[in-house]
Symmetry: C2
């Protein structure tokens, strides 16, 4: 282990832990105040809420010991950017990424409490954004304030970047990063992932990437009467079904030439560590009411979700979709295809391979137009890196249990951008499996709030000893 | 030929022809007045127009020599019912079926003229319903009035039934037929089909039936995050695509066990007659911009459309169908399936066979619920029947060309009902291929209006000599 043993920081960490035990209730109230500000980035009417949430986050960061904090303009919603670099040149700079925007609340009728009233019930704070990602913002503020109260100095140089558009594709962030030359860091810590449970703290080592395509398949100039032409002309809905059906083989593998070429095999040690995390595979399937088996044969569920790429149709339509029947043969059928990527798969390359295969499959029967729609690279953190080892020690301190190593099947598109432009990424998340992010009744565990703050304290203390790996990004 | 040669009626037919030459312009104006009444049966706001159109049709039938004519109430839009039975018991009774309701006009911007102004241009009357099916109503009125003016007596006993809901599934007609015990006839003549062209008069010998199913396939309780679950659970859109793709074999045949069991082979004489009609197969495909080959291999296009059953997906949707991407795996996928039937295929039996195959294909991966949505039996008229031979002679008289024998790939659902409850059906239609029924700029040929009226006159004269085949339907 490259980092000094956590024992070197024990005295100060214990002091902060006592402080947090006395003050985390206060920080939970601050979090409730932030949850009450509706900051739905996808809602064009949410402008005032976005601004108010950003100002509140900036005020909290200043109060936590980062006076150099601004609400910075972007092409979209503002970013909150704070920095404090007085730990000295020998100490690394950590950029912590969070976001203050939240998912749309959806149907109010699906919630058991109003989504922006930050109701406390049974040890949980229920509200949109409580877990994703406003909780981690206040966990960090509590940890920083605790360090300030107990010893004063900040052990690392710190940049805190709080996005206002994460739930809407972080659209403005790349241009914002381009416009800033002062965001050099040695490590990016993204605090927006989940653990298997409060009693099963987990370090996420990788997220999958994405590649999306919108496909339009056409067999005719226009829809035609199914009586006059039925049997004579190709039906776009049927041809698209045949094309989609041919995208997987009988073993559940994606049947697109070249699709797996850049999927590196996962090493045995990592596979063993992932299996040792004892992922609740059957729960995953039971929770969503899966009606049957699926996926690549010969692999366990967690291997398929954490280590393998996928191809899914996430939306499709053709012909008459209203009530009743319209006996017309559809001329056009549309599909939205979304892939999850791993290892060295490249979104543009995968989109190109899928598009080429779609064209081959439809040839002679239909025209196909394909438009790439989104893409992000997979991101991974080596389990034996000093940053990962510091994180393991920090989770163990915070939760009293050595964390398991897991992966995340989802994607954090901005992670790849940050990894490419700033520094290697560490996923330093404290969400809990099942806390309903993006769904009604999203919740945050009150107990987890304090444990996570303790883990953050130990991480910041340990990170002081991380080797400086900075390469100039400007 | 069982009917007397047309020559027996030549003198009177020639007299009526002269009368029609002088008066068809007047009847065209009457048709324009009827087209101007917007009688869109599918539009809940069209009530007054429906009533006005029915009254106008009744007035025309009375004027044409059928004083016993009523606008009869049904559960929906009214039916116009006229009868005149003074030709004597030795003469057959012919029930002529027409409809005064029209398709919705659709987008006004797609029309080159207002759809209900009955504009005359280049020998065409352009307007919704001009061809389908208001033209044939006035053609019949002109023919009847011509016969009344030239000789006086009506050669057959006649019932005229003008539906107000044909374009909306003739929903009220079966109950209306049940409520009437006085609709006995020897032959039903349905005047609502099309010919290959004005220079290629055609007798339609059969229409296909229909069987529809609405299918809902479910793999999960609810949509799930494609990152968290992608690779682990079955995607409803993909499973439905695989199921639909398996519904046809590599030769384009419907791959549903039992589907073809009741498809009788078409006899060689009929096949030869159909081929001799020289159907414009390549035009059919060119007109609709077909991008490639399709359908059952080894059969010509007209054979596939006129003599073979089909299975089409006429609507399908799953997952996110709005703009942009939503990376969620769909739990549910839906398809509307519509079959065309021939020969002895039964709609309920076919729907059952398709549903059973869908369940087999989805077994172990998804739940499927299937709801039959519509169905009608195929209807055929023997080419060597006396009625068909009288019709051939009548078309030849009206158009000066011996008609070809064709079939119709579409369905007239009420035809099977009338065949079952009243009498065998003859398709006595005068539409022209390409006249845009159900589409913008629907048109009727002014010249065809007069030729068709002449053919109708000869048919009514010849039909006087048809054998009485009546069986009591009450």
């Amino acid at each position: 282990v490259a980092a000094l043993p956590a024992s070197a920081h024990l005295a100060r960490a214990e002091e902060v832990r006592d402080w947090l035990a006395a003050h985390s209730g206060d920080y939970l109230e601050r979090l409730r105040a932030l949850v009450r500000v509706r900051s739905v980035s996808a809602d064009p009417a949410a402008g005032p809420g976005m601004r108010a949430a950003a100002e509140l986050v900036a005020a909290e960061l200043r109060d936590a010991g980062l006076p150099d904090c601004e609400v910075a303009e972007t092409g979209g919603h503002p970013v909150v950017l704070a920095a404090r670099r007085d730990a000295g040149q020998a100490r690394p700079t950590i950029l912590v990424y969070l976001h203050y925007d939240v998912q749309p609340e959806g149907e109010l009728a699906d919630w058991s409490v109003p989504p922006f009233e930050a109701v406390l019930r049974d040890g949980r704070l229920i509200g949109r954004g409580s877990a994703d990602d406003k909780g981690p913002i206040l966990m960090l503020c509590a940890a920083l304030r605790g360090l300030a109260e107990c010893g004063g100095d900040l052990p690392v140089n710190l940049i805190v970047l709080v996005d206002g558009e994460e739930e809407n594709g972080s659209r403005s962030l790349p241009a914002f990063l381009d416009s800033r030359g002062d965001l050099d860091a040695d490590l990016v810590a993204i605090s927006d992932t989940s653990m298997l449970g409060i009693d099963r703290p987990s370090l996420v080592l990788a997220t999958r990437g994405t590649a999306g395509l919108e496909v339009e398949l056409r067999t005719l100039d226009h829809d035609v009467h199914s009586g006059k032409y039925g049997g004579a002309v190709a039906n776009a809905a049927v041809v698209l079904a045949e094309v989609v059906a041919a995208l997987h083989d009988e073993n559940g593998r994606v049947a697109v030439p070249g699709f797996y070429d850049r999927v590196r095999p996962v090493d045995e040690a990592t596979l063993a560590a992932l299996a040792a995390s004892d992922p609740p595979e059957q729960d995953w399937l039971r929770e969503v009411g899966a009606r049957g088996e699926s996926g690549e044969q010969g692999l366990r569920v967690h291997q398929r979700v954490w280590t393998r790429p996928t191809l899914d149709v996430v939306g499709t339509w053709s012909g008459h979709t209203g009530p009743g029947m319209k006996t017309a043969i559809p001329a056009v059928a549309t599909a939205k295809i979304s892939c999850r990527l791993v290892a060295d798969q490249d979104p543009d390359e995968i989109a190109g391979l899928v598009a080429a295969q779609l064209r081959r499959l439809a040839a002679g029967r239909a025209e196909i137009s394909v438009r790439p729609s989104h893409g992000s690279r997979p991101v991974a953190c080596a389990p034996d890196s000093p940053a990962a080892e510091a994180a393991v020690a920090a989770y163990e301190w915070g939760y009293g249990t050595r964390p398991v190593l897991i992966r995340e099947g989802g994607s954090i598109p901005i992670a790849a951008t940050l990894a490419e432009r700033i520094a290697p990424v560490l996923f330093l998340g404290f969400g809990l499996h099942g806390q309903q992010e993006h769904a009604p009744d999203e919740w945050l565990s009150v107990r987890n709030f304090e444990l996570a703050a303790n883990a953050l304290v130990m991480f910041l203390l340990s990170a002081a000893d991380l080797p400086r790996a900075r390469t100039a990004s400007t």
